[in-house]
């Protein structure tokens, strides 16, 4: 009997527990998706390796609420992000803006690829030059090579 009561208690508790998670109702699925994208692109200042969608910290909840409130007021993604950046700093963007401080960060992949291309080009050029500069085979060696190759291909 006690077990039944316990199970009933657990069942009764579930909806309560579920209702504590935040619900942000939207008119359309597109808006819902825009909201989800926005909160995954914004970073929690308190728990630094989480976005505000994943984080349970109170500040992340405040930030989600603000994103929701601004979206209900018809704000664009850019406006929402800027509003949070103006309070919490560039840190909250997972994608940093291109500016004086960050150009090197953005340029690094391109620079690395260019450097790699330079190295490859250098190696290719050098080996070509080495090949062109070598004396090649003498007439005697050529004759011998042809003999060997000819014999080899004939046997197949």
């Amino acid at each position: 009997m006690r077990r039944v009561w316990l199970m009933l208690a657990v069942l009764a508790a579930t909806p309560l527990w579920a209702s504590t998670s935040d619900v942000y109702p939207f008119d359309s699925a597109a808006e819902q998706e825009r909201f989800n994208n926005l909160i995954t692109e914004l970073r929690c200042p308190k728990c630094q390796n989480q976005n505000i969608a994943d984080s349970n910290s109170p500040i992340s909840k405040d930030m989600r609420d603000e994103v929701y409130r601004m979206m209900q007021d018809g704000a664009t993604n850019e406006e929402v992000t800027n509003a949070l950046v103006s309070r919490f700093g560039e840190f909250v963007r997972y994608k940093p803006r291109l500016e004086q401080r960050t150009w090197l960060l953005w340029a690094t992949p391109v620079l690395a690829v260019l450097a790699g291309l330079l190295v490859v080009a250098g190696i290719v050029l050098r080996s070509r030059r080495a090949a062109a500069g070598s004396p090649g085979l003498s007439a005697e060696e050529k004759a011998r090579a042809e003999r060997i190759l000819g014999k080899d291909s004939g046997s197949h």
Binding site: P45, Q48, P58, I59, D62, S86, R87, F88, G89
Partner: protein, 178 residues
């Protein structure tokens, strides 16, 4: 001549070493405030001691103040409270308190029990001004100049060392300017 090229890996390693070494000892949890050089955001908040009195950014006018964000739910705020009382009473520093996401009763009890270092106490139960300031972890302490411009933010506990090394130089600088 080609031998010079052999030094490239060494140069790369040294550069990387310098870059990484510069990062040692930096606390990644300390973020620079986005409001440095900007005025304190507009707000209308009740006085903690007197719910009928509404306060705004004019509380920062006239002299350099510290703005201390605290709550009774915040253990680190308890740690720094004695140092704030010391700053207010022994050093004559003007401290504005922002009671953040707290309950008035608890906050008043706390100030009764531990001493009240705040010349002005703002009551922000929903964390509105805190949010506009970009507060992400109490306690936080800001230096506000006599024109109400945010000049510095310290995240974490204020103690004598933090005061001497970080806050006092900023306070003195803007006190002279005024």
């Amino acid at each position: 001549m080609r031998r010079v090229l052999l030094f490239i890996p060494v140069l790369l390693a040294v550069t990387l070493g310098i870059v990484l070494f510069a990062g040692i000892g930096k606390d990644p949890n300390k973020l620079e405030s986005a409001l440095i050089g900007k005025p304190v955001p507009e707000f209308v908040l009740a006085d903690l001691h007197n719910p009928e009195v509404q306060l705004g950014p004019e509380v920062f006018r006239g002299q350099v103040s510290l703005l201390n964000v605290w709550g009774t739910w915040c253990p680190a705020c308890r740690d720094e409270h004695g140092d704030l009382v010391w700053l207010a009473e022994q050093q004559g520093i003007r401290i504005v308190g922002l009671n953040y996401k707290d309950e008035r009763e608890l906050a008043l009890q706390w100030l009764d029990r531990l001493g009240d270092p705040y010349q002005v106490s703002l009551y922000d139960p929903r964390g509105e001004l805190g949010f506009d300031l970009g507060v992400y972890g109490a306690p936080e302490t800001y230096v506000i100049d006599p024109d109400g411009i945010v000049r510095y933010r310290h995240v974490g506990v204020v103690n004598e060392k933090v005061w001497r090394e970080d806050l006092e130089p900023v306070v003195l600088k803007f006190r002279e300017d005024s």
